[in-house]
Amino acid sequence: MKKTGGEIIWECLKREEVQHVFGYPGGAILPAYDALCKYPEIHHVLVRHEQGAAHMADGYARAGGGVGVVIATSGPGATNLVTGIATAMMDSSPIVCITGQVGSKLIGYDAFQETDITGITLPITKHNYLVTRAEDIAAAIREAFWVAKSGRPGPVLIDVTKDAQQASCEFDWDAAEPQRRTCRPAICFSAPPCADALELINQAKRPVILAGHGILLSGAMRELCALAERAQIPVAMTLLGIGCFPASHPLNLGMMGMHGEAWVNTAIQEADLILALGMRFDDRVTGNLKTFAPNAKKIHLEIDPAEVNKNVKVDVALIGDLRDFLDELLPGVKASNNEAWLARIHELKGDSAVRDIQNLPDDGHLYAAHVVNDLWRETAGDAVVVTDVGQHQMWEAQYYKHEKPRTLITSGGLGTMGFALPAAIGAKFARPDAEVWVVAGDGGFQMTMAELATIAQENLEIKVAIINNGYLGMVRQWQEFFYERRYKATPLYSPDFVQLAKAFDLRGATVRKRAEVIPTVREARQHRGTYVINFCVEQEDSVFPMVPAGADLHAMIRRPSPLVETAQDM
């Protein structure tokens, strides 16, 4: 059956079971857009900026577990995707971006809206393609989906020239099946590892599991739980791992790292075994590598060989799918109660509780941590929360207790401000029945707030909590701690967010007092439509504890507490 290149694009997407694409048209992608008229079953979401499209596809993939699809034109349309693609790359999120390119005869001649997008995205995609013939489109798309999903997931870009979209050729889906090998030769880092791992696990007296994004990507939540329970191993999570283990589980420690609670980081430092599952020892997690978990043997279960022994040298490495490995290991894991170790952690928790802002006397101020905590209570921990990047992101990770996988969507590796609003739109399309909340700062929200128009046009129901402290808060905190409070370029003007919402025909409210938080959250939840809440919080609050960049993980700056002598804290 003969089809144009443009038609082949949609035919392939349809067969890949794509329901929504996020995009923005333009000259070099027009033939494909024209062909979309013949595919009414594919819903196109018109964004306001291509960066938003990439974040939407990313949010879609993270919330639903599928592949997010982006479509954009050549030149500026393609370059606007870059931040979104890099975000997906750092956080292993499977998205496929299709960009138009100038006609193949014009490539290399600096044609109007020509840019070398395959060159530009080379370091931030798992793989990319420049397709100049209609005959090659189907194979590129099928392979792109395979590459995006396989192994450690990630973004793939396909650049299709305008003449390839216009030309016609025979469409053969079966002939376009990916020919790639499904696995690489194993790279050996240590001796037969499963037995070694079991021996270490069964001997450990003070083990800690570090659970990362890989648990979610592999779908190994049940296996993780079984392992933790059988051997009574406490579970610390990376930012992206949050949700892979129920927050209410007695063995849950919470988030580790730079803004991890003190008991989590202390437990890691005191551990005699680190069981790292699908995480990559990021510098925000380890602090100073020389003093990281100094007494612990380390086992690393990881699908990407390039992550093994990269930052932290491990004793046993198991390279492959987490779920397979956990299934393999579980029968050999001896039941244990680890009483002394769990009692020690319990003791550490008690010490931290007196510093917890939730336990401090009410001084009449509205704190972001209170807002997040109230939001958690009101939504019963059931919402999909999409955060931006900064202080509010850390408060969310600390005070919103996630029980279920894929309920926290956040830019971890790249730390992309402006991520939240568009990613939430993608998440809503992936899970239309879920209650989706954006938690964003006043800075990050303003980076991509134009996507409110997309929300209005698509008639979506998304709740937005802006944590408005009038500063680029996390940068301000660093200026306070490390630059003697020289607040250069961090005080931030914001529009009236309620009026702004109104301009898009959306509802909103401003909250200044603690007592108003819950009633306003309730009103927002009852409203059938998008609702923007502007929480005007304490301006110079900081995220505690904090491990300064590059410092030892146990050298935390703790929250000063009137209940504890402050002199010993710093």
Binding site: P123, H127, V147, P185, A306, N309, K310
Partner: protein, 183 residues
């Protein structure tokens, strides 16, 4: 450290490999690419200044490139290493015989002669060529081109041959036409 990589012969693959070294902070000392006995598959020999953990990291990262079929660290494997050089040396009728004699000692060949210069072609391990260059320096080297290191393990075929074996049967006849070029 020397890596041998089998890669798909497609546009942009060299760029992908070179870009990987750059963005991961490694400096390539030499890189040669050429055809192999199998159509569609090229072989790269990459010399890089790094340590044992660096080379493992590179190997693992190279495997993440979709177009890379196989990577082998041949640094410690018994292998033949070869470099090809063409050296244009200033040579008057008085010094010509002397230079030719030196070239003969190094088993190098004279491939061009004129009144002012000679072009010497030499193949061998890099230190041999370095030695030749050293003795020629006094006569005046006008131009020099070197391919950089080519490597092949001794004995039975390395991993690279097995990876591609699915594509077609082994074809061990490597003809002289398969010239490498340096990048």
């Amino acid at each position: 450290m020397t890596l041998v990589a089998q890669v798909e012969n497609k546009p942009g693959v060299l760029n992908r490999v070179a870009s990987l070294f750059r963005r991961r902070g490694f400096n390539i000392e030499s890189l040669t690419v050429g055809h192999t006995q199998r159509p569609g598959i090229s072989r790269m020999t990459i010399v890089v200044d790094t340590d044992d953990s660096g080379i493992l990291r590179l190997e693992a990262n190279l495997y993440k490139l979709v177009n890379v079929l196989n990577v082998e660290n041949v640094t410690a494997t018994p292998s033949v290493f070869r470099d090809l050089a063409m050296i244009k040396v200033a040579a008057t009728p008085e010094t010509r015989a002397e230079i030719m004699q030196l070239a003969h000692v190094f088993r190098a060949r004279i491939v061009d002669v004129n009144n002012e210069s000679l072009v010497i072609e030499s193949t061998g391990a890099e230190d041999k060529i370095d030695g030749l260059v050293e003795v020629l320096r006094g006569y005046g080297i006008l131009e020099m081109a070197r391919t950089g290191r080519l490597a092949m393990t001794r004995g039975r075929p390395g991993n690279g041959s097995e990876v591609a074996a699915g594509a077609d049967e082994h074809d061990d006849s490597v003809s002289d036409e398969s010239v490498s070029y340096s990048v």
